[in-house]
Amino acid sequence: MDAGVKETKRMSPLKRAASVNEFGILIALIVLCVVLGLANPVFFTFGNAMNVLRQITLVAIMAVGEAFIIITGGIDLSVGSTMTLSGIMMAFFVASGVDPTVALVLTLGVGLLCGLCNSLLIVKLNLNAFITTLATMNIIKGFAYLVTGGLPIKFDSYINFIGNGTIGGADGVPVSVIIMFAVIIIGHILLNRTVFGKKVFAVGGNERSAKLSGIRTERVKYTVYSIAGALCALAGAICVCNLSIADNSSGSGMEMDVIAAVVIGGASLSGGKGSIVGVLIGAAIMGVLKNGFVLLQFSTYWQMITLGAVIIIAVVLDGLRNRKQ
């Protein structure tokens, strides 16, 4: 019985690891850490590690949602604005006397609504995702200013622990980092182990084929944009809880870091390809670089240049990998 197919072989653990898509960037991250650790031993302390993780929390959480969108072949530039508006709404709700837990749920709803609006515009009016979310980025930002009038809102409640709390004493693991890992794990399972995740890949791989395979492609899009919106709101809430203040600048410019994390993590902007573990590694590479520049007291200008170079290198390496396959 040689039908030309080999049973999927059990590979040696090392070979199997090397065949995983995220292998390349994981090596890059490890090398980066080793170099920084040798240059400055402080890097390897538990406190610094938590510091790095805390710093990448917001980007990583939002990047999980963005990854889902990018894998469907879309893009969302409004994630930073959605985060800002959500954080402000959180503070606004609580300032208006809403219970903080209820406020958190409402806030997630605000973010979800922003995402849903994006997808409705894209699907119903058949608009380009880049242009649509470029527009809604401004619209959402404008609404945020309307709520605050440009003034920061103080935020202090029992729920602040999700932003500034730690588990295991004052020097323990930040709650926000635990939330981030939870989001990553749930996102990973959703993308790789559920029917919905398969549909996400199918829509991004070939939308017409997906529809002809009986997939409601428009529903998949509504869902991914809504998930992304809700995750931006979660990031916004964590940010406000951490700073104890909600202001109009908290999420500005974040969309670029978010997209960079997804792309460094191996996603293709043309859709059909990407991973949540990759997102975490992508965000970590950027976080470690920033941290390293501070520890080594390099100029922040060089930090920008290096970050840009990393994005290009990541994409080039990914292209080479694909060609080899």
């Binding site: 019985m1 039908a3 030309g4 197919v5 080999k6 049973e7 999927t8 072989k9 399972i189 182990r193 559920t194 029917v195 995740g197 398969k198 549909k199 890949f201 199918a202 791989g205 070939n206 017409r208 084929s209 997906a210 529809k211 002809l212 395979s213 009986g214 997939i215 409601r216 293709s268 059909g272 390809k273 396959q325």
Partner: protein, 505 residues
Amino acid sequence: MDQDMLVELKNVSKHFPGVKALQDVSLQVRKGEVHAILGENGAGKSTIMNIMFGTYPQTEGQIFWKGKEVRFKTPLDAQNMGIGMVHQENSLFPFLDVQNNIFMGHYPASGAMIRRDEVRRKTVELLEELHLEHIHPGTTVADLSMADKQLIEIAKALSQHPDFIMFDEPTAALTNKETAILMDIIRDLKQKGVGIVYVSHRLNEIFELADRVTILRDGQHVITGPVGDFDNDKVVQYMVGRQLDDQMHSLKKNTKRGMEDETVLEVRKLCKKGAFEDISFELKKGEVLGFAGLVGAGRSEILEAIFGYEPADSGEIFVEGKKMDMTHPQVATEAGIGLIPEERKVKGLFLELSVRDNINIATIRECRTGTLVNRKKEIERAEQSVRQLNIKTPTVEKAIINLSGGNQQKAILSRWLLAKPKILMLDEPTHGIDVGAKAEIYSIIDNLTREGVSVILVSSELPELLLLSDRIAIMYHGKMTGIVGRSELSDDAQEVIMRYATGQG
């Protein structure tokens, strides 16, 4: 050395991954000659023209241009030497106007500046020369009719005054009136000593225009001779070949199919503007209903309407007696219908995804344990399909883009076989795949009907339709011009169908 010789191909072969598109073919075209190339879809007609136009290089063999051996790196090399080609698919820029389309790539210019007056003047002259005065040089191409677009495509190729020009199915989108214009243009070119290669499925055009005929089959040269040596029957015989004839007879002989009286699908007065109108038919259990017709006759559109991909404007669809509102493929899928679309790469495959994903995507729910997708089940089902349909792939994890056309098609076929459809619609299922895979697909279809599955088969290859169908519906310009039953499918069936399909029935 023959002074009149323009192009000569010597023992040219072209291999694509998994497909030998052309094997050891030789061809000569002289000045002032119309040389028709005939063959079924996938016989290598387009391949041979693309090689002469420099679209891709030949794998083996030589090309001579006016007696000298040449190697084209790009179509531009060929164009600069005086070779033109009118493509089958539209290669125009839809958002540019007629004149810019015609002169794109060879604008008259002073330095960096385009001489716009000259562009306009030359366009007007060219359109007049070709008797296309009804087309305005400033019209945006997207606003032109299909036929006018095709004529502009021809004008574009002629604007460079080539010594040798190839036409790939130029009349597929044309009505009789425009076809007549084209015939005049070609006769004119011939008089001027231009060498012409002409490919068309419409045999009457060939007999009217051609000086010589070359017939290809499965990438191989069958025969070349003066047009007077051929008639309709001979051409079809050479195109189809004995081999398939034999296969046809053997399949026909042991055909004791499961076709029953029970109607599984009924379509009543289905209409879609610009695609088809007033389509009514019934599909019986275990039947293969073939759809014949020329490209663009509306056959694919009917399948896509039944499947809910591009729903019809009006009409009714009944599945097993129940009226269905086919608004989305999901509805059709749940009703037990599957569609294997034309244009595998555009509408069927997820090129970057694995064979496993491509096979399981339509039935991914069945791979679950609980709410989560079970990878083991996915792999099991994919590997089982791969074995059953003899899909050649190193592992099911390989990205499907790496497989040959025939294996890709079998993967899509297995995607729908897993869904256990009651009705399977196949649109050009053997387009561009090799003979071996073709035969395998035929036997799969045959077996399906024995299991009581009903099949709608759209194909541009008549022998294929004759081989597999219990009845054949014939389409012409969006209308169904006839349904021929199995008993009427006699030896001259090809001709009968051809007459219906070209609007002469």
